[in-house]
């Protein structure tokens, strides 16, 4: 009874077993990662591409703290969004300074976030 001399069933089952095992490992891994928050970037400041640099480098009244708030009000300034969008793809490393400076000049907190937010939108595409 039950004997399969061809071994085809055994091979098939081995594959199924491998698959099931992999799924189990994956399941545990997903839960572990999700629980510990590994591999995700969800806090609003981390959504901004230059958030870290701004927080460290621009401690001025409108600088550091403004970054985070950008998430809330990216809608604020349509004009600044347009010019910064092209600069972001051009060079990620050089962009921050150019993007940040004009924002400091423009009235306070509003410009920086919008620039950051729009480029974040571009970057996340």
């Amino acid at each position: 009874m039950f004997v399969d001399t061809s071994g085809r069933r055994a091979r098939l089952l081995r594959r199924v077993g491998l698959l099931v095992g992999a799924v189990c490992v994956g399941y545990a891994a997903v839960l572990g990662l999700a629980f510990m928050g590994i591999g995700t970037s969800v806090s609003p400041s981390s959504l901004l591409p230059f958030g870290g640099g701004q927080n460290g480098g621009g401690p001025g009244p409108g600088g550091g703290g403004a970054g985070p708030q950008g998430g809330v009000m990216p809608t604020g300034t349509p004009p600044s969004g347009a010019p910064t969008a092209p600069t972001a793809p051009s060079g990620a490393t050089t962009a921050p300074s150019s993007a940040a400076t004009p924002s400091a000049a423009t009235p306070g907190a509003v410009a920086t976030p919008s620039a950051a937010a729009t480029s974040s939108g571009a970057a996340t595409d």
């Binding site: 009874m1 039950f2 189990c24 969800v42 806090s43 990216p74 349509p78 595409d125």
Partner: protein, 746 residues
């Protein structure tokens, strides 16, 4: 046996793994390492599922504490007296209020499968947006509602993952609560959000020294903490008119109004909402989201184009961000994982219920039937017919039994019933045949054959038997003097084709021996009595059974199609219309496996063999007459009790552990003990019927625990082996005898 190990095949008496099988098993073990690994991985996944389920229901790490009455000296006065929207631009705490004649409807604690969709319907009907502060665990359980909610143009905020008072939690926990909720949102609706509302928070003047650091920390990370200034207090269910009244701000002021769309009965909220919206509209109010309220207060604020850049519809959802990359995929994976858990745990509960019903039902049935069986067979006037006094043949298949064979034969020589003894030596290499001959016992014949397996040896013995009734026993089993006499009496009834005797464990002093002793006593006393009355005994134990020679020959003799030739032949006799009965007074003493490893391999063979035999006789399901009767009564019982129940039985322990950790230690242990108590009662009854000493029952809790897990693993292992179609070698090896047992029994 029985017991909630429901599993156990009715004990069959001692058979042990031949050494060659053990060697083959050793080789096979190397092949089976992947199986062990897979089993462990499955266990890991199950643990994850259970933990996740506990976490989602806030049974793991759930923290019910809520802080009240703490001081507020560290909290800036501007915040305490400020508007309900708290942000930290430039690290400076700033509050905003909702503009005049504007309402920001906020709903806490959702999503809820009952109430949230109703709220959404109302909002859509009145074309009004709301802001929902969602609990992450609920988001992950009801992702579809969240997706719809967002698509409808509402805004969402984070209300933590497990609805804990964050002021009690560590920074790491706060971060985890937020990030897990973001992941859930990403998985459910493809977005993340920057809005946050703390559980148990209310107006800004309720911020205290313990919660303030949480808002500061989250504010620095870029979150906007949203409070309320107008509370409908709908959770108190004060009645529709009160809710509307309390939710109405004074003098045309703007308001961040709190409702609840989850967390209990919310029918009043659902009823109050339309009334409230109509009333406020009539007063000239407009409705917006939190982001909408904020945008209107910004100097340059005109909700406009860039909203699309963040992938949301208009300024009303400005707090939303499109989730991308790993966040999105991890979020989707999390949602899927939660869905799996949401299905798995209820499915396991159903399994547990099946076990519960099967175990309890079986016990009830067994106790009733065993009682009736005992009463019937021990009645003073009971008889099978005229006493059977004619001589019978006893067939003793022997393979390397030098330690036991002398004991076995000497016990037979003391028989009070006339017998001839046929020792079939199955190619032993240890001089078993010579020992048997040298004893010089009268009426002993030794037949030698080349090693061909136990079924062949039995067939050889049956062919050489001179008498119509053949008793079969193992080479390591010892009979009492009147065992054979008792065993053959049922043949006075011409419809009886075979009789099962009562096998007893001789070596019951060890732990494992005692376990098997309990199992055998229950198996024989309860199971076999039940099967006898139901006329569907699945197995005559190899250690002690008697057959009509004619019946065996007509059935084609013992077959080596399966590893359980005893089950195979018993079923074949049933199908041929013979009756198979249990004779409790015919006792045989046998030596049970002495180590866990031997026990495992014995049970593996039994369970695999039983499955083979059932499969071989599957045709009986469609047959007519006695064969069909066995197929429709016996087969389902055997499948239910020897295959299905053992597979689900460990759930008893799994759920006990689960409840101990996540629910309540005491009641979990109580439930477990209740199951054990029922088993103990049944076992005690079985012991009473057999007049055994009760002290072995002390072993029972441990026995049950160990047997459940072992039989489960054995069953799974057998099923996998059956599916792969492997183990051809075992077929040829068979169990051919005995490795070497110090005398069993006594």
């Amino acid at each position: 046996m029985t017991t909630p190990t429901p599993s156990s095949p009715p004990a069959r008496g001692g058979r042990r793994a031949p050494s060659r099988i053990e060697r083959a098993a050793g080789r096979a073990a190397a092949l089976q390492r992947p199986r062990v690994l897979l089993a462990l991985l499955l266990l890991l996944a199950l643990t994850c599922v259970m933990l996740l389920d506990g976490y989602l229901r806030a049974e793991v790490g759930g923290d019910q504490r809520v802080r009240t009455g703490a001081g507020a000296s560290d909290v800036p006065d501007e915040v305490l007296d400020g508007g309900p929207i708290l942000t930290f631009p430039g690290g400076q705490a700033t509050t905003l209020s909702v503009p005049d004649k504007t309402i920001a409807l906020t709903f806490d604690d959702g999503p809820d499968p009952t109430w949230t969709p109703q709220v959404l319907e109302i909002l859509e009907e009145y074309d009004v947006p709301g802001t929902f502060f969602l609990v992450g665990s609920m988001v992950s359980r009801y992702p579809d509602i969240v997706r719809e909610l967002v698509e409808q143009g509402n805004e969402v905020g984070i209300h933590t993952f497990t609805h804990v008072d964050l002021s009690y939690q560590s920074d790491a926990r706060v971060t985890r609560e937020i990030e897990q909720t973001q992941l859930a949102l990403a998985g459910a609706a493809g977005i993340t959000t920057t809005l946050f509302r703390a559980p148990y928070s209310s107006e800004t003047d309720a911020i205290d020294n313990y919660s303030w650091p949480v808002y500061e920390k989250l504010g620095e990370e870029g979150y906007t903490s949203v409070f309320i200034d107008t509370d409908s207090d709908d959770w108190q269910q004060p009645g529709v008119s009160k809710i509307v009244e309390w939710a109405t701000p004074e003098d045309g002021e703007g308001a961040s109004v709190l409702f609840h769309d989850a967390g209990g009965e919310r029918a009043q909220t659902i009823e109050a909402l339309p009334e409230y919206i109509e009333k406020m509209k009539a007063k000239g109010y407009t409705f917006t989201t939190i982001s909408g309220a904020m945008a209107e207060q910004q100097p340059t604020g005109r909700p406009a184009a860039p909203a699309e850049a963040s992938g949301t519809h208009g300024g009303l959802q400005a707090a939303h961000h499109q989730a991308t990359g790993t966040t999105l995929y991890e979020g989707k994976a999390l949602i899927a994982a939660v869905a799996v858990a949401e299905w798995t745990v209820p499915a396991l509960s159903v399994g547990l219920m099946v076990v519960g019903v099967a175990v309890m039902g079986r016990f009830g049935m067994m106790v009733i039937l065993a009682r009736r069986h005992y009463g019937q067979r021990n009645r003073r006037r009971f008889g099978w017919g005229p006493p059977v006094t004619g001589p019978v043949s006893v067939v003793v298949p022997a393979y390397n039994e030098k330690e036991c064979i002398a004991n076995t034969l000497q016990s037979l020589a003391r028989s009070t019933h006339p017998i001839e003894i046929i020792v079939v030596d199955d190619g032993s290499t240890d001089g078993t045949a010579e020992i048997a001959e040298s004893l010089g016992l009268p009426g002993v014949r030794v037949i030698r054959q080349a090693n061909a397996g136990k079924p062949a040896a039995l067939n050889n013995g049956v062919r050489n038997a001179r008498y119509d009734i053949v008793v079969m026993m193992d080479g390591d089993t010892v009979f009492e003097p009147d065992t054979v006499r008792h065993l053959v009496q049922p043949f006075a009834d011409p419809s009886v084709g075979a009789v099962a005797g009562n096998a007893k464990v001789g070596n019951r002093r060890t732990l494992i021996g005692a376990w098997q002793h309990i199992e055998y006593v229950m198996g024989f006393n309860l199971d076999r009595r039940m099967y006898d009355l139901l006329r569907c005994m699945p197995t005559i134990p190899g250690a002690i059974g008697a057959f009509r020679r004619q019946a065996v020959l007509e059935a084609g003799g013992m077959s080596d199609d399966t590893l359980a030739e005893d089950t195979d032949i018993t079923i074949a006799l049933h199908r041929a219309g013979w009756r198979v009965v249990y004779q409790e007074h015919a006792r045989a003493w046998t030596e049970a496996p002495g180590s866990l490893k031997q026990l495992w391999s014995q049970r593996y063979r039994w369970s695999y063999g039983t499955m083979q035999a059932l499969w071989k006789h599957r045709g009986s399901l469609r047959d007519k007459g006695p064969s069909g009767r066995f197929g429709r009564v016996g087969m389902p019982l055997v499948v239910l009790f020897q295959v299905v129940t053992p597979v689900f039985a460990p759930l008893i322990d799994v759920f006990t552990v689960y409840s101990m950790i996540f629910v309540d230690v005491r009641s979990a242990l109580l439930a477990w003990s209740a199951v054990l108590g029922v088993q103990l009662l049944c076992a005690a009854y079985a012991f009473r019927l057999d007049r055994e000493k009760y002290r072995y029952l002390l072993m029972m809790p441990l026995q049950q625990l160990a047997y459940r897990q072992m039989m489960y693993l054995v069953l799974i292992h057998s099923c996998v082996t059956a599916l792969t179609g492997g183990r051809l070698r075992w077929q040829k090896l068979k169990r051919t005898g005995e490795v070497g047992t110090p005398t069993g029994a006594g």
